[in-house]
C-alpha cells in the first residue's frame, strides 16, 4: 500500500491523507473493489479522451503516469505493479459518482453537516440533479480515483468559468464551487464520526435551531446573490472590453477622417471667425461653471463644446455618442478601468485639439490671437481636466483605503455561532451577577451611593444583578457616558436574552419527574429506583458561619454579634452602677473612676463602628412599606440598634465620672470624631440635645482644647500637625452634627447652655481655641436669629418669654465681662506673633484666614451688645482694626489683591455689625 500512498501524494493536492484512509474504511473495508473491473484497455482511452477536455495541471500529471503501465494491464495482479491508481479506474467517469455519493457519504460524518446538506439541497440549487458530465457508473464504492477525479474536475470547472463565461458553464461552476466548499468543510472533520457533544442538535439552546435555519436561509440568499453579482460583473467586464475596443477603433477612424477634413475646415474656419469669438466667450463661462461640477461630466461637456466650435462634424458627433453610453456604464465599471478610459478619451481629445490647432495655424495667421486664446483655453481646459482627474484619483484612494480598513476589520466575522457567543457571554455575566453586591465589593457600592447622592439623586434600587458594576458606573460618570450606557444596555439585553433562554430551557426540561420549588439540580436521573434527596441550598450564607467570627478579622460585621454582647454587658454594668448611685444617695457622689485607657477607648470605638455598620446595613435592607409586618419588625430592630449605640457612647454617664468624661475620651481619637455625624443622624432631638449639653459641659476636656496651644507656635512638628488634623476633624464632623440642634434651640436652652459653658469651663482658654470660637459663634448667632424673628413675629406664642429674655441678658453680660479683657488675644495671629517673639502681626502667614472666624465671632458679639458694650468693643479692638486697615491701604506692604480684599472684608465684618465701615476710618 505504501507505494500507492506515495503516488497518491503526488497527485492529490487537496485531499487529506486521513480522509483517504477513512474513505477506504467506509468502503466496506476493502481497499479497492476489484470485483467489477472493466477491461483496462477500454478504460484508458476513455480517460485519455476525457482528460484533455478539462484543461489543467491534474490531467498533465495523469498523463505520464498513465503511460507507464504499458501492456501488462490485463491481469488483476497488475494492480500491484508500480502504477498509478488511476490506471485501475474501473469506470468511465468518476465525477458524477462522486457528486452523487458525496451527500450520502457525508451524511455519515455528522448529523450536523448532514442537516446543512439537506437544507442546502432542499432550499433549491440551480440544478438539483447531480452533474451529468458522463455516464452513470454502477459501482457502489468510492475509491481514491473518484475523489481525485472529482477534485480535478472542480479545478477545471473553475478555470472554465474564467475563459468562457456562459450560462451553462456558470451553472456547472456554481455546482462545482459548491462541492469544493463542502469538501473543504468536510475534510477536517472525518476523524470524528460523531460530532462533538456541544454541536449535537439537542444540546443546543432551544433557539439554536431557529438561528440555524435563519442562518442557512441567509447563506443561500447570499450565495444566490453572489452568483447574480458575478454574472453581472462578467457582463460588465465584457461590455467594458468591447467598449474599449470600440473606442480605440473610433479614435483611429476619427484621426483618419480628421486628416481628410482639415482642408475643408480651413475654409470653414475663415467664415466662422465671428462665431468662434462668441463661442469662445461661452466656453469660458461654461468652464467656470464646470469647475464646480463633478469631474465625470467634463468629458462629455468638453466634447459638446468641441462639437459646437468645430461645427457639426461627424467625428465630434461620433465621439460624443460613445461618451454618453460610456458614461452610463462608468458607474458600473471598476474604477481603474474607468479612469483609464477617461484618460484615453481626454488624451484623444487633446490630440484632436492640437491637431486642429496645428493644421489651423499655418493657414490662418490673422487668427493668431485667436489661436493663442484657443491654446490658452485649451491649456486651462486640460489643466482642469488633469486636476479633476487627480481629485478623482484621490477620492478613489480614500474610498479604497476605507474599504480596505473595513475589510480588515471584518476579516474574522462569522467565526462563532450565536450559541457560541451566548455561551461565552453567559460565563462572563455569571461572574458579575451577585446575590448581595455589598458582600462582594462594599466600598465601591458605598462610594457609588455617596457620589450619586452628591450629584444627581438617582434611584437607589437594590439591583440584584449588576449591583456591583452597572449601577455605580452609570451613576458616577455621566459626561463620558456616551458609549458606555449603550454597552451596559447591550450587556443587559444579552443577559436578559440569556436568562430568557435559560428559563425556556428549564421549562422545557421540567417534566413530571422534577420537583417544584426545589433548589439545586433535581432531574438528573430517573426516580424509579430510588429518589435522590433534594439539595436545599440556603441563599443566605451569612448564617452558615456564625461562630467563626474570631477567624475573620477582616470583616467587621461578622464580629458584631460578639461585640454587641460586650456592649450590652457594659451597658448593664453601667446601669447597675448608676442604679447603685441613685440608691446610695448623693453622699458617695457619682462613682469616680479612672478615665478610659487608650486601649479601652479603641476597643469601644471599634464596637461602636460595628454597630454603626450594622445600622447602615439595616437601613439598606429596609423592607418596602407595603409589608407592614416586616416593616414593623425591621423598625423594632432598628430602634434596638440605635439604643445600643446610644448606650455605648456613654452619654448618660454622670458628668463627673472621670476626667475626661468617657464620652470625651471616645471623641478624642480622630475616628471617634468621624463617627459622630454618622451616629447623630439617627438620634432623636432629645438625645442630640443631651449630647450637646454634655459636650458643652465637658468642653475643656477635649483634646483639641487641651492641645490647642501647639497651634499657636509657628514651628512645625508632628504633634502640631496632629493637633491641626484633629481640630479640622472636630470642626468638620462634631460641629456639623451639633449645628442642627444649635440652630433650632430656644432662647432658654441657649442661655442655659451658655451658662453651663461658662460655669464649667474657663472661658479665656476656650475662647482661644477654634472649636471654642465656633461654638460661641453658634450660640450668639442663634440668639440673633431669635431676636430678629422676634421683631418679625406675628404669633405671640413664638416669642420667648420675658423671663427667658432676662435670663439671656444676664448670661450675656456675664459672658461679656469675662471675655472683654482677652479680646485681642482671641486672634490666633496675635497669639502667634507673641509666641514667635517679635514678628509683627500683619506678617504672620495666612493671617487673614485664621483670623476670620474671630472677626465673625466679634460681629455676632457686637450685634447682641448694647451701645456701651459696643463702645468697649471698639476701644479694645481699635489697635487690631487700625492695623488691618492701614496695612490694607498701603500698597507696598501687601503683595496681591486677594489678601488685601480679605483683610478689609474681615474688618468690615466687624465694623458693619457696629454700623460702621472701614472707609470711614481716615488714615
Amino acid at each position: 500500500m505504501k507505494h500507492l500512498v506515495g503516488q497518491a501524494k503526488l497527485v492529490c493536492t487537496k485531499v487529506d491523507l486521513l480522509s483517504l484512509y477513512d474513505i477506504h474504511g467506509l468502503s466496506s473495508g476493502k481497499d479497492f473493489d476489484f470485483s467489477t473491473t472493466a477491461l483496462p484497455e477500454d478504460v484508458r482511452p476513455q480517460i485519455h479522451r476525457e482528460e484533455p477536455t478539462r484543461a489543467g495541471i491534474p490531467s498533465q500529471e495523469l498523463e505520464p503516469q498513465q503511460q507507464r503501465p504499458g501492456a501488462s494491464f490485463h491481469s488483476l495482479e497488475s494492480i500491484w505493479d508500480d502504477k498509478s491508481p488511476f490506471s485501475v479506474l474501473p469506470r468511465t467517469n468518476g465525477s458524477h459518482r462522486a457528486a452523487e455519493q458525496r451527500p450520502s457519504a457525508s451524511h455519515a460524518f455528522s448529523p450536523f453537516t448532514g442537516q446543512t446538506q439537506d437544507s442546502h439541497a432542499g432550499a433549491g440549487q440551480t440544478t438539483s440533479q447531480p452533474l451529468h458530465l458522463g455516464g452513470v457508473h454502477s459501482q457502489g464504492v468510492r475509491t481514491l480515483e473518484e475523489i481525485e477525479a472529482e477534485m480535478r474536475q472542480a479545478f477545471a470547472a473553475q478555470r472554465n468559468q474564467n475563459i468562457s463565461p456562459s450560462q451553462p458553464a456558470q451553472a456547472r461552476v456554481s455546482q462545482g464551487r459548491g462541492t469544493p466548499q463542502l469538501q473543504q468543510r468536510y475534510a477536517p472533520q472525518p476523524e470524528a464520526p460523531t460530532p462533538p457533544p456541544r454541536m449535537h442538535p439537542h444540546a443546543q439552546s432551544p433557539r439554536f435551531h431557529q438561528y440555524q435555519q435563519q442562518e442557512q436561509i441567509q447563506l443561500l440568499e447570499q450565495q444566490r446573490q453572489r452568483q447574480i453579482a458575478e454574472i453581472r460583473a462578467q457582463e460588465r467586464r465584457q461590455q467594458q472590453q468591447l467598449q474599449l475596443l470600440e473606442l480605440q477603433e473610433q479614435l483611429r477612424v476619427e484621426e483618419y477622417e480628421r486628416e481628410r477634413d482639415r482642408e475643408r475646415q480651413r475654409h470653414i474656419r475663415a467664415t466662422q471667425q465671428a462665431q468662434q469669438l462668441q463661442q469662445a466667450q461661452q466656453l469660458q463661462q461654461t468652464q467656470y461653471i464646470q469647475q464646480r461640477q463633478p469631474s465625470g461630466r467634463l468629458t462629455p461637456s468638453v466634447a459638446e463644446l468641441q462639437q459646437r466650435r468645430y461645427g457639426h462634424q461627424s467625428p465630434a458627433n461620433v465621439q460624443a455618442q460613445p461618451d454618453a453610453p460610456f458614461q452610463q456604464s462608468m458607474q458600473y465599471l471598476p474604477r481603474d478601468i474607468q479612469m483609464q478610459q477617461r484618460l484615453l478619451a481626454e488624451m484623444a481629445q487633446a490630440e484632436f485639439l492640437t491637431s486642429m490647432q496645428g493644421s489651423a495655424s499655418p493657414a490662418l495667421y490673422n487668427t493668431s490671437n485667436e489661436v493663442e486664446e484657443d491654446r490658452e483655453q485649451q491649456e486651462t481646459l486640460r489643466a482642469e481636466a488633469m486636476r479633476k482627474i487627480m481629485e478623482a484619483e484621490r477620492m478613489e484612494e480614500k474610498r479604497r483605503r476605507k474599504l480596505e480598513k473595513i475589510r480588515y476589520m471584518s476579516r474574522y466575522n462569522d467565526l462563532m455561532t450565536q450559541s457560541d457567543k451566548d455561551f461565552i457571554t453567559r460565563i462572563q455575566v455569571s461572574q458579575l451577577v451577585t446575590q448581595d453586591p455589598y458582600t462582594d465589593d462594599f466600598y465601591a457600592q458605598v462610594y457609588g451611593a455617596v457620589m450619586r447622592s452628591r450629584m444627581g439623586v438617582s434611584v437607589p434600587d437594590p439591583v440584584l444583578k449588576f449591583g456591583s458594576v452597572g449601577g455605580v458606573g452609570l451613576g458616577v460618570s455621566q459626561v463620558k457616558g456616551g458609549r458606555r450606557p449603550s454597552a451596559m444596555q447591550r450587556m443587559e439585553a444579552q443577559v436578559e436574552r440569556i436568562v430568557n433562554n435559560a428559563r425556556l430551557r428549564e421549562k422545557e426540561k421540567t417534566s413530571l419527574n422534577s420537583l417544584q420549588g426545589a433548589l439545586g439540580k433535581t432531574a438528573g436521573r430517573s426516580y424509579k429506583a430510588a429518589p435522590r434527596q433534594l439539595l436545599q441550598v440556603d441563599a443566605n450564607g451569612a448564617t452558615a458561619s456564625p461562630t467563626l467570627s474570631h477567624a475573620a478579622a477582616h470583616s467587621h460585621i461578622s464580629k458584631a454579634d460578639a461585640k454587641t454582647e460586650g456592649t450590652r454587658a457594659d451597658a448593664a454594668a453601667e446601669a447597675a452602677k448608676m442604679g447603685r448611685q441613685a440608691l446610695g444617695g448623693t453622699a458617695t457622689g457619682p462613682a469616680r473612676r479612672e478615665p478610659l485607657t487608650q486601649r479601652e477607648t479603641l476597643v469601644k470605638l471599634e464596637m461602636l463602628y460595628d454597630l454603626v455598620l450594622e445600622l447602615e446595613q439595616q437601613r439598606r435592607d429596609q423592607p418596602p412599606d407595603e409589608e407592614v409586618e416586616a416593616t414593623a419588625a425591621w423598625e423594632k430592630h432598628f430602634e434596638e440598634t440605635v439604643e445600643e449605640i446610644w448606650d455605648a457612647l456613654q452619654v448618660m454617664v454622670p458628668l463627673d465620672t472621670s476626667d475626661p468624661h468617657p464620652f470625651i475620651s471616645l471623641i478624642t481619637p480622630i475616628k471617634g470624631k468621624r463617627l459622630l455625624p454618622r451616629v447623630t443622624r439617627h438620634f432623636s432631638s432629645e438625645q442630640s440635645l443631651t449630647l450637646l449639653t454634655l459636650l458643652v459641659a465637658c468642653f475643656s476636656q477635649l483634646d483639641v482644647v487641651v492641645n490647642s496651644y501647639l497651634l499657636d507656635i509657628l514651628t512645625d512638628s508632628q504633634e502640631r500637625r496632629d493637633v491641626e488634623m484633629q481640630t479640622q476633624a472636630f470642626l468638620g464632623s462634631v460641629m456639623q452634627s451639633i449645628l442642627p440642634i444649635g440652630a433650632t434651640a430656644s432662647l432658654r436652652l441657649v442661655s442655659g447652655m451658655l451658662g453651663v459653658f461658662l460655669e464649667r469651663n474657663e472661658i479665656e482658654v476656650i475662647a482661644r481655641t477654634r472649636p471654642g470660637i465656633a461654638l460661641l459663634t453658634l450660640f450668639l448667632s442663634r440668639v440673633e436669629v431669635i431676636n430678629q424673628s422676634m421683631a418679625n413675629a406675628t404669633d405671640p406664642s413664638e416669642l420667648p418669654a420675658p423671663e427667658d429674655l432676662e435670663q439671656w441678658q444676664l448670661m450675656f453680660e456675664h459672658f461679656f465681662e469675662l471675655i472683654t479683657p482677652h479680646l485681642p488675644y482671641l486672634f490666633p495671629s496675635v497669639r502667634q506673633a507673641i509666641n514667635s517673639g517679635g514678628i509683627p502681626v500683619t506678617e504672620i502667614p495666612d493671617m487673614d484666614t485664621i483670623d476670620q472666624p474671630v472677626w465673625q465671632f466679634l460681629a455676632t458679639l457686637s450685634l447682641n451688645s448694647s451701645l456701651e458694650q459696643q463702645q468697649v468693643l471698639v476701644t479694645s479692638l481699635r489697635d487690631r482694626v487700625l492695623d488691618n486697615v492701614a496695612s490694607a491701604s498701603k500698597a507696598w506692604s501687601i503683595s496681591d489683591e486677594e489678601t488685601r480684599k480679605t483683610r478689609l472684608s474681615n474688618v468690615n465684618i466687624f465694623l458693619h455689625a457696629l454700623g460702621l465701615d472701614s472707609s470711614q476710618i481716615a488714615m
Binding site: H550, A551, A553, K604, E606, M607, P669, I670, D722
Partner: protein, 96 residues
C-alpha cells in the same frame, strides 16, 4: 484586663489601631510611621501620610574592629501599600 474584651486574637489588636498612627517595622532595616487604613490576613497594610526610615549600616574602613556607622535615610509618601511578608511588627507610636 479589658472589661468588655472584644479582642480575641492578635489581629484585633491591629484592628484597634485603624485610623490611628502606627509604627511598623519592616525587614531590611526599615521602619515606617503612618496612619493605618487597612490590613488583612497577610498583614498587607495600607498606610497614609507615611514616613519611611531606612537604616544603612556601613563598614568603616579605618577601624579594623569592624565598627560600623548607621546612616539614616528618610522619605515621605502620601499613600503606601505594604506587602505583608515584609512586616515584622506593628505597634502604636512610641509615646513619650
Amino acid at each position: 484586663m479589658d472589661p468588655s474584651s472584644g479582642i480575641q486574637e492578635p489581629f484585633d489588636l491591629i484592628r484597634l489601631s485603624l485610623s490611628e498612627r502606627v509604627f511598623v517595622k519592616l525587614r531590611g532595616d526599615r521602619e515606617l510611621t503612618g496612619i493605618l487604613h487597612a490590613y488583612d490576613g497577610h498583614m498587607n497594610l495600607i498606610l497614609s501620610d507615611v514616613e519611611e526610615t531606612i537604616m544603612i549600616v556601613e563598614q568603616v574602613e579605618g577601624a579594623p574592629e569592624g565598627q560600623s556607622t548607621v546612616n539614616i535615610a528618610k522619605r515621605k509618601m502620601n499613600m503606601l501599600f505594604v506587602r505583608g511578608d515584609g512586616v515584622i511588627l506593628v505597634s502604636p507610636p512610641s509615646r513619650t
